[in-house]
């Protein structure tokens, strides 16, 4: 069930496009139904969780690294999942009216559902590595959502900044999770939670904690990583309402709760977490007051409230955790409704600037009433949800078990009250500046009430604010208790949720905050002037951008240092390093002959002399290119003979055929290339290159010799003994190719096909013209298609095809097979192209060679897949024996079909390459 739950948003994201295009459903409807069905499913399966049950599902993914597809639904996960899906449904409804269908479209809802799925996966993950996957996914999805209005530069910059900060934090978190997993010995959350104080007592604990908090702090916009959040306000308002109230920024908070039992309880935790929370709380509250943008105010207020929650987690007291979780709920509810209200105001009046927005109450009284209630909840006014959690927060700052003796234990209640004062002031500003305070100034539109259904999500949320505020025990207590139990992993202390606790210190703090806030707001004009006069404004955005810039500069510098833009220098260094590495490992080793040497025979001496001379001649005469190619083909021929002499008939045949095809290819190409290489190198360079070549040669020779004199211990006896019974053929080389190592062959044929496709792509659009005369100034022969060659080639073709069929059929048992037969056919057909020109050859061979290659690879792959149908692993073969006249008894194996695929791919590749080159000549001829 958990799998279904997590996959619903992802399925929805995939469905939005086809549903919108094929079925003509509005994308908002699809997205809304998906979110709603997930919510219903969650409420249904989440029921036992209220009584303390934990639902687990588990499936292996990559067990070697401890990664599994396991999900977990406990109280904390349930709370966050309800927020994600519940507010998700409302946001979809809201977006339906906020964005025109044209602007939003399926893309918007697909991103939104993607994000929803990622968040859901994050809060429900049981496996820590899986959790990290979803964590990164939320960063990516939020990048897409913040940058949704991709035509504006603010959206692009804001999205990039958010990705840079949260993505960087993701690295730190990943490191923390990996270390934690190593300490505990498991990446399953259940094991980690059950490990008790194992992590906290480990000597790596400080490192884990710092990395963990960087991850948490970046995601949840904690000081000093808070600066990305205001810039993320470039997102469409439904996105802000979703990401920056209930989900994305709460992901870090979620982790604080998730790992509270593992990491909390140390002095380090207290100082770092509560310090981070406290500074964020104050800074956010202070800056929120001075924003003129409505969403900017909400963004900094969000930062401040996130700081408050972090501070509560940092205190480490059980009641503090309950208050933190309570405030997570409350903040999500009122902040989402406030963002939506701000969006309505923006939508209906055309601006979010509070210096222009005034006196909107008489234009949109209904919206104003809703926004005022929500803002009052944000300020912590009694009878609303924000009051209850803020009261608990004030109470907790007073009972600090860590700081009782310290002389500055007054700091926390003091700071809490100051933050409360600012919260009241900016909430007042939101209410008074926007809805009262005179008349609007130069609004682009005359404001009016939004469409009826646009207000419904706000109404639902505001009703929740009041419901939780007045009847906390009925509405929220079960959820809160199960979530808090999941965080604390121990029985809950007694706590009371009620509006009236008697006249106590927290109440006094609340009253001071309200009074102070009102006074602060009334003195705002003076304050704004003072704030504007602060000379230096630290911009985290600029800092981050200059950091990115300097990383790029560093990259360019390293690049300049390493890249000399010279292939020759690269090659030299690469080869020199290889030679040096070889020399270092061979140095001082001796290789005594461990077996009797094979006696020297005359043919080998003669062939060897020719081969060696050919190699040297190729190098010496490389300037005279035709001569060099002739020398090279001597080496090729001698190699083929060497294969034949040392018992490899298949190799000899292949080498000969490839030699023919290569020489044709080179001759075709040489027509266009300069026929002489100009002397190019200085003496020093020549000497240097010769030295490197000789050293490399000596090294390889020593290596080869030492290998050859070692006793041979091969795994091949298996292939030799199994070839007949297992593969049904007596030619072991062929059986290895099509059966034992068929997968390799499939890959190799594919590489060949890719090379052919690349060649076709490069030849297309190639503009190149050959010279008029050869390098001795002689004209080319006038007869392009000699009659003799044309006639002979036509005669040869049927014989060549018969030979190739013969080689193909007997390949399993005697030298031959798909590769060799394919080369024979390819060379024979190429002869047709050469003899009659590619235009006429193409008329007579009307198939598309590219498709031939594709068909070959498909047949080979299909044969492999075919064995799946019968329940065997990929590329399992089977065979039966058939007797044909002339060919004799041979066996029909499924491997033969595979070999047929190889054959077709090879034929197609050879033709593509050679006929493609020939086509260049033909083009010149036709001009």
């Amino acid at each position: 069930m958990l799998y279904l739950l997590v996959s619903i948003p992802f399925i929805g994201a995939l469905l939005v496009y086809p549903a919108t295009e094929r079925l003509r459903l509005p994308p908002s409807l699809v997205a809304g139904l998906m979110a709603l069905s997930a919510l219903v499913l969650l409420l249904f399966i989440g029921f036992p969780v209220y009584s303390g049950a934990v639902l687990l599902s588990r499936a292996e993914w990559i067990p070697q690294i401890g990664l599994s597809f396991s999900f977990r639904l406990d109280g904390l996960g349930l709370l966050f999942a309800e927020l994600i899906l519940g507010i998700g449904v409302l946001v979809v409804l809201y977006a339906r009216y906020y964005l025109t269908e044209l602007e939003a479209g399926p893309r918007f809802y697909a991103f939104l559902l993607l994000f929803m799925g990622a968040m859901l996966g994050l809060v429900l993950s049981e496996n820590l590595l899986l959790m990290m996957v979803f964590w990164e996914l939320t960063s990516l999805a939020s990048f897409l959502l913040i940058g949704f209005r991709r035509h504006t530069s603010e959206a692009r910059q804001g999205a990039r900044l958010a990705l840079f900060v949260t993505g960087g934090g993701g690295f730190a978190l990943l490191a923390a999770v990996l270390i934690m997993g190593q300490i505990v010995g498991s990446y399953e959350l259940s094991d980690v939670l059950a490990s008790g104080r194992l992590v906290a007592d480990h000597h790596l604990y400080p490192l884990v904690l710092v990395l963990f908090l960087i991850g948490v702090g970046t995601k949840s916009a904690q000081f000093p990583f808070h600066f990305w959040l205001p810039h993320a306000m470039a997102a469409p308002t439904p996105v802000s309402a979703y990401l920056h109230s209930a989900t994305m920024v709460k992901a870090g908070i979620f982790l604080l709760g998730r790992f509270f039992p593992v990491l909390a309880g140390s002095e380090l935790w207290f100082y770092m977490v509560s310090g981070m929370g406290l500074s964020t709380l104050l800074l956010g509250a202070y800056l929120a007051l001075f924003q003129h943008d409505l969403k900017g105010l909400l963004a900094y207020s969000t930062i401040s409230h996130l700081g408050l929650i972090t501070l509560l987690f940092g205190l480490g007291t059980p009641l503090g955790e309950i208050a933190a979780i309570f405030h997570v709920i409350n903040h999500a509810v009122f902040k989402a409704s406030l963002f939506m209200a701000a969006g309505i105001i923006d939508h209906e009046s055309g601006t979010r600037d509070m210096r222009k927005l005034n006196g909107l109450f008489k234009y949109m009284p209904h919206t104003a009433a809703l926004a005022m209630v929500a803002a009052a909840a944000m300020a912590g006014v009694p009878l609303l949800n924000g009051f209850l959690s803020k009261e608990m927060f004030f109470g907790e700052t007073l009972v600090l078990k860590w700081l009782v003796e310290a002389q500055w234990h007054w700091l926390f209640p003091m700071a809490a009250t100051v933050a409360g004062i600012f919260a009241v002031a900016y909430s007042l500003r939101f209410i008074h500046d926007v809805f009262f305070n005179g008349e609007p100034v130069n609004l682009p539109k005359t404001p009016h009430e939004p469409p009826r259904w646009m207000k419904v999500p706000v109404e639902v949320l505001v009703v929740l604010c009041i419901g939780v505020g007045v009847f906390p025990n009925f509405t929220v207590r079960p959820l809160l208790e199960s979530a808090a139990a999941a965080v604390l992993q121990q029985p809950l202390p007694e706590f009371s949720l009620s509006i009236w606790h008697g006249f106590n210190t927290p109440l006094v703090m609340s009253l001071v905050a309200m009074g102070g806030g009102a006074i602060l707001y009334s003195g705002r004009k003076w304050l704004f002037r003072a704030h504007d006069r602060i000379p230096f404004q630290i911009s985290g955005k600029q800092w981050a951008e200059s950091l990115v810039e300097s990383i790029f500069q560093l990259g360019e510098m390293v690049d300049r240092l390493l890249d000399s833009r010279s292939l020759r220098r690269y090659s030299f260094f690469l080869l020199a390093i290889v030679v040096a590495a070889g020399a270092v490992s061979l140095w001082g080793e001796s290789f005594p002959a461990a077996k009797a040497l094979t006696p020297v025979t005359i043919p080998v001496v003669i062939g060897g002399l020719l081969l060696g001379a050919g190699s040297i001649a190729t190098a010496v005469w490389h300037g005279k290119r035709l001569l060099a190619v002739i020398m090279l083909s001597i080496v090729g021929l001698m190699t083929a003979l060497l294969f034949a002499y040392f018992s490899a008939p298949d190799l000899a045949m292949t080498q000969l055929l490839v030699e023919i095809a290569s020489v044709i290819l080179v001759l075709l190409a040489m027509y266009f290339l300069p026929q002489l290489t100009p002397p190019e190198s200085s003496r020093i360079r020549l000497a240097r290159d010769i030295t490197l070549g000789v050293i490399a040669g000596i090294g390889v020779a020593i290596l080869s010799y030492s290998m050859l004199v070692q006793p041979l211990d091969s795994i091949s006896s298996y292939y030799l003994s199994q070839s007949k019974p297992g593969g049904g053929g007596t030619n072991v080389v062929n059986v290895i190719l099509v059966d034992f190592r068929g997968f390799d062959t499939l890959g190799e044929v594919t590489v060949l096909g890719i090379a052919a496709v690349g060649i076709v792509a490069m030849i297309g659009g190639l503009k190149i013209w050959g010279p008029e005369k050869d390098w001795l100034g002689r004209s080319w022969a006038g007869d392009r298609h000699p009659v003799l060659l044309t006639t002979v080639s036509k005669l040869i073709l049927p014989f060549a095809l018969i030979v190739s069929a013969y080689l193909f059929l007997r390949g399993h048992n005697y030298p031959g097979g798909g590769f060799i037969a394919g080369l024979v056919t390819g060379v024979a057909l190429t002869l047709q192209y050469i003899a009659s020109g590619s235009d006429r050859a193409r008329q007579r061979l009307p198939w598309d060679n590219l498709k031939l290659v594709g068909a070959g690879i498909l047949i080979a792959t299909g044969t492999g897949l075919g064995s799946w149908v019968f329940g065997f692993p990929f590329l399992t073969t089977t065979f039966a024996y058939v007797t044909l006249p002339i060919v004799g008894k041979f066996e029909i194996a499924s491997a033969m079909l595979f070999d047929l695929g190889v054959y077709l791919a090879v034929v197609g590749t050879v033709l593509l390459i050679l006929a493609g080159m020939g086509g260049l000549h033909q083009r010149e001829e036709n001009v």
């Binding site: 090659s571 090279l632 266009f672 290339l673 190019e680 010769i690 490399a696 041979l712 091949s716 290895i736």
Partner: protein, 108 residues
């Protein structure tokens, strides 16, 4: 015999490395080609030197050569052809688009 083969592989490699370091496309193609021979022979002889036989079972042959290096080298030869062809066409394309067959943009 072993010494002869080791020397052949060494000589071919030396020539190939020298060619790889030239400044024009064509010698480099030749160099890679030559290096292909050297590597293929090296791989092939790693299965030992067996004379006058073939990797065919049930044909009355007494000593069989090691079939595995042969299978590896067979595909290596064909792929080597594909790669050489790719390089040659790349060289042509570079000549056609840049009007020069030097590899370092005219730098000497």
């Amino acid at each position: 015999m072993e010494l002869i083969l080791a020397l052949l592989i060494g000589i071919t490699t030396a020539s190939a490395v020298f060619l790889l370091l030239r400044g024009h496309t064509f010698p480099i193609v030749l160099g890679l080609w030559l290096l292909g021979y050297a590597v293929n022979i090296f791989l092939f002889v790693s299965g030992g030197l067996t004379e006058g036989s073939a990797p065919l079972v049930e044909q009355g042959l007494e000593i069989l050569p090691d079939p595995l290096p042969q299978a590896l080298v067979l595909t290596a030869i064909v792929i080597g052809f594909g790669m050489s062809a790719f390089l040659i066409v790349l060289a042509l394309r570079a000549l056609g688009d840049l009007g020069d067959d030097g590899v370092d943009g005219g730098e000497k």
